[in-house]
Symmetry: D2
Subunit: 288 residues, 4 copies
């Protein structure tokens, strides 16, 4: 079998007897083989999460629309929010950058070697600097400069490109502009930002300079979903790097690059593999 | 609800349509709430593994024997090997040591504070040194000295204590004797050893001295099940510690202690939580 | 040679040509062999730090007082703050605890096995719970209960014990009381606290509960010197532990124990090996 | 001051009174400011190592040839092997690759952004695949296919390119050919290889497949100098990645990429910063 035969079903709902069986029983009826499954039951909140990877029946007799129609009433019975995704479908990811190119370079490497199974219909930047890198990968590069006066207009263009690209995900790969509340709202929950600190420590501008001033012995990176508060969205994953007294802010900037790249790539991987559920301002990440 | 209401069902069998449903469907029928579940399907070997934590019905109407009787034929249909365990039952763990006490001290701390939910009916040693530590914890200490001539006899006594203690698990917490093939066979798969190297590197005696001679920049520890080959049993978990040129063998010994303790404790935790499956000389560890 | 022949000389001063030579030249004159040396020059602040381990002359001809007298004028020339310590001298460490015993248990283990080359003249607690553990190690245990009304009096007793113990270092091994500004001032720079978060994140009470609420994917521990602001003193070292959505606050508490123990022990080790310099609210840690 | 004013002096010799002073005293005489210094004294082997970064006199009065001439007799007195390097001089690094491009891509990124202060006069490969990547960075790419019959001839060409490039260092960035003893001898000690396992575990071909077969829970990468035994040269640094039962060999290959890249880049950084001393088949790495 190949990835083309594999689908991912994710669901969440209030905890109640029978939630797992609602999913697994249906998959059994449809003759779908469960290749990988994890659940999480939040006993405090009384909420349930499930992720199942399954293979279509071996006889080839699988109709996705019919599958959805069949599952809908069962999900409704439990008040489930659910999603069904082809494992092999590559989501459209729009990447936003400024001048720092390490995360972009890393994502493009993973993209062109297939490690990250995505399409990149557009790269958007407020600076022209990374055009050549985009060109080499044959990806359209949109240079949208921004000033306080033109911000509304620039963000409107961003939103237009995101829509026209049929983006499934937006990635802020060190995009150094604060988004307006409007754009934050539009992107909330389906845009991932990489922040170069261990949030909630060192929010806002120049976190490595803040870390230097404080004399910490560890710096880190946090990949999180955008919401309408700066650097406050649900955290997906975090990584760290040890440092010492000999690292000036510019050294921390350099030291942090690798962990930023790896943390962002990991978060995108979790997202596109449908492992991440947002819930109460936090995330549940199944099977990571 | 409490842990007293929770059970763990683990099962494995050849991969086949319906394996998950055989478990989850039955739990649904029995009105048991699935609190946590993971599966793994080894596509290469065609083998399936499942671990489910579930709560007894809220009406209190649960009969374990009846539950077992009901599940047996379904499991048999799939050729499943399965186990049912009360979450709150504390397994009997017999600990074997020599003179090094760091792992024993660590395990006893976790035992007396309840972090490690075990009973320790016996500590066995070929040296008298750690008697006082055992006494302080009110645990019977068996000093069984051993020489080449008395080895068979000594091991017979070990085996007797293990049996009389109704041990569910034997832990070799830096027991510095090579076990005979007979005892290895008796303990295969239910005794955990901590070896102070990243196996398969540096098997056998004095791994830290081997590591020093080789000039490695990382040392580690491996917790594995005993089988009939020295330091070759299925690996449960491994931990590491960075080192450098300034560490002489005795420094590596000191540096490695923490990671040995943590690695061994983690392996025992996985084992008693029924997360570990042995298969083809390796382990599957679900939900670690 | 043994540790009895080894001394540690540490010094710091404003950066200026000749600082290293002032130390190394003198050691050469005194026929002392430099076994280990590190320097750090803070180019931003223009400040210099040096730590040298050296062995007394092989002919046994070493007079510590004369050595000090000889070095004093040279150090004065550079405005050096300096310290000379016998490597083999075990400092007196007073430990303060409340009810949580994991750090105390860990420190006592390292103490009784000699891994941590210290004397422990006193354990002070605001609770009686850990008396038995202290007794087993033959260490005086001072139970000093505290209320808002008796705080001044209780702290006066603490200070008295610290002084009578000729303490070189005070360790707050999960002492769950906020010290008064007076006691903080008295202990500033020679008391080490372990805080169970990655400072400056999650200061104050219940950091694991704060971490849970925020949904972080890493928790950590910070060992720092006490100063007159809560959880704001110079950081010595930090450690981390990965966590996920399944960890409730009480799980984080459990998960964090090992990293708290290791982080605190490491900070004490650095301190007693004279590796730590406090400077501008931060630390320089040489040769860690 | 800038890096242009900074030099690195490294030296090693048999342990003897006065070794440090021989270096620091001379630097003082020459009015050179010591910005960073570390020493290591191998008490077992009786061998001493020192690395000092220093700044030229502020009056600009520095003659490198005269400096060398002045230091030579002092070094000779102690039998020192020593080296003097301009901090700002970019060494020539020839990179050898086959088809896997992750390490090359990573090194080229660090090269073009200046993180790795090197020149790359040539990339040599036994396959044509990575030509385009080299072209984009304007680096000459030498495609030298190899068969058992042509190996001697191909290696002669490699050697010629290495010499004509005035290479200071050769990096085998996943070059998948075993070098002949002759070429190994020519490159011994100044060629760095990245091996995708934690040596000495899993030497030779397909280490990830070996790791899979063994069921290890950690994989890693080792950067080491080439010598005349396969995968046996002095280890510079090692990195690790945790894995589990769900990772097939091809997953380990994917998982290991990041740690291979980072480990290799770190080793090159140590090497060009003159931190690495080879000694008795191992390395001393100062100030890492």
């Amino acid at each position: 079998m190949t990835q083309h035969d594999t689908l991912i079903l994710t669901a969440s709902c209030a905890s109640r007897l029978g939630t797992v069986d609602a999913v697994t029983g249906y998959l059994r009826e449809q003759s779908c083989y469960v290749a990988d499954m994890q659940t999480f039951d939040d006993a405090r909140a009384g909420h349930f999460f499930i992720r199942a990877e399954f293979r279509k029946p071996e006889n080839g007799d699988f109709d996705e629309a019919a599958f959805r129609d069949g599952f809908s009433p069962r999900a409704a019975e439990f008040g489930m929010q659910w999603e069904l995704t082809e494992r092999s479908r590559k989501p459209n990811v729009v990447i936003m950058v400024s001048k720092f190119d390490h995360c972009l370079n890393d994502l493009l490497y993973r993209y062109r070697t297939g490690q990250l199974a995505i399409e990149i219909p557009a790269i958007i930047s407020n600076h022209p600097d990374l055009q050549r890198l985009a060109d080499w990968h044959h990806i359209p590069y949109y240079h949208l400069p921004v000033t306080a006066e033109t911000k509304a207009e620039q963000e409107a263009k961003i939103w237009q490109i995101v829509q026209e690209s049929k983006a499934d995900l937006v990635v802020l790969a060190r995009y150094m502009q604060v988004l307006s509340p409007e754009l934050c709202n539009q992107l909330a929950g389906w845009a991932i930002n990489i922040h170069h600190s261990l949030l909630p420590g060192f929010k806002g501008a120049q976190p490595y300079h803040q870390a230097y001033a404080k004399g910490v012995k560890l710096v880190g990176a946090t990949a999180h979903y955008i919401n309408n508060e700066l650097d406050e969205g649900p955290i997906i994953t975090q990584g760290i790097q040890t440092v010492d007294h000999s690292h000036y802010p510019e050294d921390l900037v350099a030291k942090g690059r690798d962990v930023e790249c790896i943390t962002l790539a990991k978060a995108i991987q979790y997202h596109i593999e449908k492992r991440v559920f947002m819930y109460q301002g936090k995330t549940v990440v199944l099977g990571s």
